[in-house]
Symmetry: C2
Subunit: 427 residues, 2 copies
């Protein structure tokens, strides 16, 4: 018996899926006990030249040839974006087809609806490739740590921003220069907002937090800050204190209350995430029982992402052979409670430009004392380009609400010329 697959989209990742399915036929047959055949591929232009060859009639520009085709058992969606992908996936599910998707936007915004529909129709929906490309973080959270209570998921889940921050750190280069280079190399898009403003990472963290904490997290629950404001000075001063700046997605669960954020973070160089460089991704998971773990690998790319997709396809096909599709997933079952700012705690890094005169440091440190934020390290130095002084502070663990009060007080303090940077500190 041969399982027939319809592929929605034939970009980079779709092409990788075809290469792996065609190239690994014997192994896939051994793994699943069944044959796998790519029956139809939806493209915009069937006459365009392609890097992989197809038999007559495989390429189609009519979505119904796949989603309404009774011969097709499994639909692999690699179009990206919300529509028409969402309508196609829901239509396919309504006809009993199983879904493998790499679509983080779709799963982050409509994952709950899609999983609920799939459960109602006895369909599998797998989406390992939607987060961190080739790293099997979704299967790890849902299966390998099913017996544990996960309290923290912290990851570098966007390769573009990690490439930019790595280059800034290694070359002492400015953000704008590295961004331009990344755009020329094809690592960043002409409009880089989705990456550099943290939106892509936020979608991935929505998916990971939902799975880790077994509650439906919304994209709007994620606090997002991108990397546009990260300066050469931040990176240089961070290094001097033993930190690298990384764009981290951080999802935490304490006393059943969750918080999720994406933000540039000072990561201690001894922490395993600090040495994750370039376009690589890594996800650090902390479980009550298992403790510290980390999963590292390629965050994107044709074949890494396709590996996750075809491994999901293997799962669907094994389930088809055993007749258990739609029965293996666990829907989110916990009520969502968001943690108030006053309870979200971390260390902070603060860079201030202040008047270079007597008594300033005393007034600055008094503000911290007034708000019961204690300090781990304080460094004052002349500013290299103007007559101000720079003060670089790392706090001990403090809650976000107290830090907000500190920052409000600095805004009103005449000796503070500017709050240049405030970053969370980890590790």
């Amino acid at each position: 018996m041969t399982i027939k697959v319809g592929l929605l989209g034939l970009g980079t990742v779709g092409t990788g899926v075809v290469r792996i399915v065609e190239g690994h036929q014997e192994d896939l047959q051994r793994q699943t006990g069944l044959g796998i055949h790519i029956e139809k591929v939806l493209v915009q232009d069937v006459s365009k030249a392609r890097p992989v060859a197809f038999g007559d009639g495989v390429l189609t520009d009519k979505p119904a040839d796949i989603i309404a085709n009774p011969d097709i058992d499994v639909v692999i969606e690699v179009m990206g974006g919300i529509e028409p992908a969402k309508s196609y996936v829901l239509e396919a599910i309504s006809r009993g087809k199983h879904i493998v998707t790499a679509n983080k936007d779709l799963m982050a915004l409509h994952g709950e609806e899609i999983m609920t529909e799939a459960a109602a129709h006895g369909c599998d929906v797998f989406y390992e490739a939607s987060v961190a490309g080739g790293i099997p973080i979704i299967r790890t959270l849902t299966e390998s740590f099913s017996s544990d209570r996960i309290t923290k998921v912290m990851g570098i889940v966007n390769g573009t921003t990690n490439y930019i921050l790595t280059k800034m750190s290694k070359k002492g280069a400015a953000y704008e220069d590295v961004l331009r280079e990344a755009q020329q190399l094809g690592y960043a898009e002409a409009n880089p907002s989705s990456d550099v403003d943290g939106l892509d990472a936020a979608r991935k963290m929505t998916i990971l937090a939902t799975l880790a904490f077994r509650t439906n997290v919304d994209l709007t629950d994620v606090k997002v800050e991108g990397i546009r404001k990260v300066s050469k000075e931040d990176i240089a001063y961070g290094k001097r204190l033993g930190y690298e700046i990384k764009l981290l997605g951080i999802a935490e669960c304490q006393q059943d209350e969750i918080s999720v954020s994406v933000q540039p973070t000072m990561v201690k160089t001894t922490h395993p995430l600090a040495s994750v460089n370039g376009v690589f991704n890594a996800v650090y998971v902390y479980g009550e029982s298992v403790g510290e773990t980390m999963f590292y690998g390629p965050g994107a790319g044709e074949l890494p992402t396709a590996t996750s997709i075809v491994s999901d396809l293997v799962n669907v096909v094994k389930n088809l052979r055993m007749g258990v599709n739609g029965r293996t997933a666990t829907l989110a079952y916990k009520e969502k409670k968001l943690r108030p700012d006053s309870q979200i705690c971390s260390k902070f890094y603060i860079l201030l430009h202040v008047a270079d005169k007597a008594g300033v440091l005393a007034r600055i440190t008094q503000v911290f004392a007034d708000n019961e934020v204690s300090l781990e390290s304080v460094n004052q130095q002349p500013n290299p380009v103007n007559p101000m002084a720079e003060i670089i502070i790392i706090t001990h663990t403090a809650n976000q609400a107290a830090m907000n009060q500190v920052l409000d007080a600095f805004n009103k303090l005449d000796v503070v010329q500017e709050i240049k940077s405030v970053y969370r500190v980890e590790g």
Copy 2:
């Protein structure tokens, strides 16, 4: 409906299993759709005080109360060692019970027999906890990378030796002193042979190589060298050249030929494995399509290991609910071909003690040239304690057979006083 579990053994890990199953009842019910109850626990002395409480009649010293008990669905084996564990597991399988085990010895030596028996009786056998404690490397190899061809698995899979090597590196301490300290802390056993001679790591690599390459690898196929001979000098010289010494298990598959070894290895400090310290484990996996990945976490310990066991138990219970036990595993299906030494290639580090006189370096380097081994770096320095000179060489990639010829030639060369160290180099 409640699934009844029998636990063979109540040491550290067994106690962790009880704690997690008892403490996470609601989550386990949500994950599996069924209740899970620990019905019987096999111990040597039922009257001994235990860190966890049991109801009347749960503790037993009669194996048959578990393995021949028709009420028990799943047997968790955490006794360790080959016998009587092997007989108990096979007896339980013959009675249709599913197995979760943490027993690396059993799976490394008798895994093929056990998996074959399990398939014949429709039983699940899961053993995630047998390698690298809390790191889900087995599920990753068998499921997440099912669509890929894995060409290399390289790991720090023994926490005791990694603790010793880390301490030697960080403190400049000698092997014997650190071993003694590790024994006092309970990280190393009174007879440390299984750890420091690489036997424990070899068993784990047998399991990983079998899964990665889908062929039944035997423990006797693994070339094993322990860490007893690693000196302070090796570590200091390695550092100076940008390397850390780690006990690595390395399994490779090239052109369908496999090689598996455990040996002290110079790992480039930029490689992610170089910064895995203390009792942590990490496994680096290279797949043709996915590329480089790494999985990091606690290699042992009560709750990390128990997390892997109970997650396997969740898997068994979900399979029971769906009625598919014994149908999810893929047995090894590839013929085993071992790669000859002449084809096993790596860089090498060599430390020689030589006569300190003119022309020696020329004669040494000529030996490499004669055997077509090219050199990456050569350093000569006076020996700090005797009138000999030390030569530290890193080769380019060379095959093991050529290296053996080089070493034979050195043994015959009058100016070579001693070949102090030869290590594989990675990264």
